[in-house]
Amino acid sequence: NQGDGAGHAVTERHSGPRHAPVHGERRAAQPVIFFYLLSLVSATGVRPSTPLGAEHILALRLCAGAPAVTVAEVAGQLRLPAGVVKVLLSDLMEHGAVMAQAPRFPGGETGSFAADDQTLLRAVLDGLRKRL
């Protein structure tokens, strides 16, 4: 039962963060700012005034390497759990080094799509077909 990774899943309580301590961490490892897996993060160009830990620097470098990058991608590239990356990004945001934008999902919760989303779907379909 492996390969999916989910086979190793551990059920745990909210209060028990189990990820490895992050270098330079100053407080309980809970991100101050809420991130979604698909929140888009981008570097602002502002250099943090205080020295950062190695993981912070790596995360910042990833954010600076593209116009915007998702939290999921930063986590995957750094091979760190998304929960840890959210703490890193939250720290960086407090320093003004990165900014984040929540995902803006098309359609409503009903599952039906608005008229402009039909245009959106058509654009997605065209884009996919071009790759075929």
């Binding site: 888009l40 502002v46 998702t70 991608e73 799509f113 654009a123």
Partner: protein, 206 residues
């Protein structure tokens, strides 16, 4: 939003976030599929996901709210400068059904990968998306040596409605996986009516 003045020149409004889920039973080829279609090296993101039991599928003796560490396959396809598609390969085991609630929020739709040698493994995913009205296609991952069933045989065995597309797919091939995604989006276009829908914007808490 924390942002020093003059920090960024990005447009104020980013394009819509486009998310497609890749579901299916264990070993159906989700990781392979995401890896084949993604333009970036397939990433595995470990995330703490919490689910609220909504009364659906209650499990005796199990707390209705819990958090689980789970590995998600993650991929990205940049279609053009305004359209970027994100893919999540979701845990296939039935006991993780509650995780899908969070992953499904805002998803365009889903590709359910089916392995004809273990067709029943895709039932939970099919049930889940059907119940929530999330558009999906069933992509039959044609494993070497597996018997080739017709689309109608698969449809009958899974109990799919006549409108759910069943497509053939080789999860190892980029073109095949991309074709399955295109079939999904085509399905969404042809089945979804143009009801005005409220725009769902979770917003970024300050």
């Amino acid at each position: 939003m924390v942002c020093a003045s003059g920090c960024d020149s990005r447009p104020a409004t980013l394009p819509a976030t486009l998310k497609i889920l890749v579901a299916g039973g264990f070993g159906a080829g989700k990781t392979t599929f995401v890896g084949a279609v993604s333009e970036i090296d397939p990433l595995c993101t470990e995330e703490l996901l919490s689910g609220l039991g909504e009364g659906a599928d209650p499990v005796d003796g199990v707390e209705t709210k819990k958090t689980t560490t789970v590995a998600l396959d993650f991929g990205r396809i940049t279609l053009d400068e305004r359209h970027v598609l994100y893919l999540f390969g979701t845990p296939g085991q039935e006991r993780f059904w509650f995780l899908w609630e969070e992953l499904c929020a805002g998803a365009l739709g889903a590709v359910v990968l089916a392995d004809t040698r273990r067709l029943a493994d895709c039932f939970p995913a099919v049930d889940f998306f059907e119940r929530r009205g999330i558009g999906f296609v069933v992509a039959v991952n044609e494993f070497d040596g597996a018997h080739r069933y017709t689309a109608e045989e698969v449809r009958a065995a899974v109990g799919l409605g006549p409108r759910v597309p069943v497509v053939r797919c080789d999860a190892r091939l980029t073109s095949s996986g991309t074709g399955a995604l295109a079939a999904l989006v085509h399905h969404l276009l042809t089945t979804r009516s143009a009801h005005p829908a409220k725009t769902s914007d979770p917003g970024e808490p300050p």
